[in-house]
């Protein structure tokens, strides 16, 4: 139980810091540390994401960063895609799904590195550190 809470806190902190969604850490945490299967970990991650995204959305809405009509439309119209994605996940073997997920997080890692290096060159060109605007900058996690 303590591991579950630690995974949650760690994923949340990193999500809030880096703007990377919680799911990217929930899933490997639930597989590697807790010992769920890849399918169970993904399914459980999805439910865990709901409160995180909800609180993030409420905060961002307060800062005027949410276009509610667009969010509602994209969210509600995702149903078919969701059903297809979940069906596909469940049609795959645990090994195939785990391998695909591993590739996904490798790509996300590459993207993070690229972004970090780009930010660095931006700063070198004389951009000030974006310290103003404080919490409006909050990216929240997925």
């Amino acid at each position: 139980m303590i591991w579950l809470i630690l995974i949650g806190v760690a994923a949340g902190v990193l999500g809030g810091l880096l703007g990377v969604g919680g799911g990217v850490l929930f899933v490997p945490g639930l597989v590697i540390v807790v010992g769920l299967t890849q399918h169970e970990a993904e399914a459980t991650s999805l439910l865990a994401i709901v409160p995180v995204a909800l609180v993030g959305a409420v905060r961002q809405n307060r800062y005027g960063n949410v276009r509610r009509d667009d969010a509602l439309l994209a969210g509600v119209l995702s149903v078919a895609g969701v059903a297809g994605g979940v069906a596909l996940a469940n049609a795959l073997s645990g090994t195939a799904l785990r391998t695909a997920f591993a590739v996904l997080i490798l790509l996300i890692a590459a993207q993070l590195v690229r972004k970090a290096l780009r930010d660095e060159s931006g700063r070198a060109a004389g951009d000030p550190l974006p310290r103003t605007g404080t919490s409006v900058r909050a990216r929240g996690s997925e």
Partner: protein
């Protein structure tokens, strides 16, 4: 907005929702990786608006996906709550911390954690 037919904008939002839904359902993540860049490129969003709007859409997407996965019997509800609720506190702390630490180094560190996780998953 006064449109009688599904506007191009609505169709784009539907495409974004569908793509994000597929991604989310397949990988067990929210889908922000897909939504944010598409809102920026297709609908001209700024990064903050894209992130905020993406979070709101994800409430629906992850919620639907959890329900469908629940029908397959894969969801561990108690585990999800034990992970998800502390994560809310973690996010609040993380966004506070964002203004106070060197995010670049952390990005690189986190990338290393992801690579290690990927290796572990591939070896499992």
């Amino acid at each position: 907005m006064t449109v009688s037919m599904p506007s191009e904008r609505a169709l784009k939002l539907m495409a974004i929702g569908t793509a994000a839904g597929l991604f989310s359902g397949l990988f067990g993540v929210g889908g922000g990786t897909v939504i944010v860049p598409l809102l920026v490129v297709w609908l001209g969003y700024g990064e903050r608006e894209a992130t905020g709007t993406s979070l709101a859409a994800i409430v629906f997407i992850a919620g639907f996906a959890a329900v469908v996965q629940g029908a397959y019997g894969n969801v561990h509800v108690l585990d999800a709550l034990l992970v998800g609720i502390p994560a809310v506190g973690g996010v609040l702390f993380g966004t506070w911390l964002q203004q106070r630490v060197h995010v670049r180094m952390l990005s690189l560190l986190f990338a290393a954690v992801l690579v290690a996780s990927a290796v572990e998953l591939l070896l499992e």
